[in-house]
Symmetry: C2
Subunit: 295 residues, 2 copies
Amino acid sequence: MTAQLQLGFIGLGVMGRPMALNLMQAGYSMAVYARRKESLAPLIATGARAFAAPAALAAECDVIFTIVTASADSEQVALGMQGIAEGARAGTIVVDMATISPLATRRIAQALEARGVDHLDAPVSGGPMGAQGATLSIMVGGKPRVFERVKPLFERLGKTILHMGDHGAGQVTKACNQLALTVTLQAVAEALLLAQRCGVDPAKVREVMLGGIAASRVLELFGKRMVERDFENGIDARLYHKDLNIALDLAHSLGIPAPAAAATLQQINALIGSGGGKSDFSRMIEVLERAARSN
Amino acid sequence: MTAQLQLGFIGLGVMGRPMALNLMQAGYSMAVYARRKESLAPLIATGARAFAAPAALAAECDVIFTIVTASADSEQVALGMQGIAEGARAGTIVVDMATISPLATRRIAQALEARGVDHLDAPVSGGPMGAQGATLSIMVGGKPRVFERVKPLFERLGKTILHMGDHGAGQVTKACNQLALTVTLQAVAEALLLAQRCGVDPAKVREVMLGGIAASRVLELFGKRMVERDFENGIDARLYHKDLNIALDLAHSLGIPAPAAAATLQQINALIGSGGGKSDFSRMIEVLERAARSN
């Protein structure tokens, strides 16, 4: 692919905006659409052309990236009224970088392919920092031929780019990752609370644990915030709620047990129910603390 | 402390034997006791003196290490008939390196101190390899003054030696560590099974996860064995069962919730109930697989 390609970007939030800018910096011409008009300004200022609907944008693009919040949003943007499918030419590639259900992904891919439009699912990890620095991990599902065509663009967005399998395989990988991550956080919260209530310094216990087999990146990052009770900066708990729901829906649809993930989802529900959805995910330890106090 | 000290070692299994040998190699005179007489031979061959009961051994020792299996065994060796308390002089130090209940530890320490005998709890992590190579992590609870006296001996046994607090603090630290470790393993098992049943290569998903926030030592070590289905070498699942029971007993006694740990204990129960207690802990993934198949 060359810089002559016309790219489109739909969804210009904390992830989409820096990603679109990174592609523009590489010389690509960019068409943009966002539901919230105020998101468009920084892109237009940099030379992007704004469109009134995904269909109109799609009619002029070779590759269209989407990164909107949830499964329903991705389906709406791709297949809904004035959606991509209504405008896209045959041969266009749609790359969905949001974290959504693998089942929804397969539905979208199938519907688009019936119209001659190719589709990749390409959820990312690395957060806003990774998006800004183009150091994201990108987990891709879809046809190898399509993956190879988009790869040079992915390389402008991330550092680790992996083709995981057919449609949905990227989303499955992300779901597994988020399941392991959330349950590991619950493990860390339970361990650090136990230490504290037994009168042993959780900061010191964390240090010991980091030196052995119980070490994890979650203990490093979120465990530190738990110990320091720094719940206001970081990654919103509600995002993990969405992602773990995706993983458990998938597990249930296939009859796969996931008991620790199910217990963890209950805890995230409690955190969000008590108003902690926009706090950092490390605040999960407070759910345990509240249950402990009421005993 | 100098090499003139008379040391004692009680419990000469896969952990105790190499630890006693490391102390002897440092020049210390060693008295030994083991319930299974065949465990004594390699120590006697190296110059240790065997005793018929803990009391008789204790009468001649300045510092006595114990590393027997469970809480009841530690209590029996310290306080039971012909136990350490019956023979030890005032000023003797008992160092319990087994992983047992912090509550039992405090009972033992109190009973010994009433007789003028000092006590440290000093559970370890690092397994038989760490015992052989003297690279254990040692988590110590007890009086700072006693800790300082034993520290030069600990340095012959391990690499990371940490004083965590008063009596029981070493055991609390180990319990927290094992809680985090076992729940993280459950997280990894659930994630890798989900990947596999969704048709995405678990080995590839593990690689992706190792590159991000879901990375853990458990994913590295046990996750590899899950992917390779190598369940016969490694660390017996029944040891984690014992340790997680200790952590949950402690949590229950203090009214602390630990929902993911509780779910994980059920899974370990199922593994042991189906004959997997002496398999490597990574075999936990089979408990999920069996439940999935029967759906």
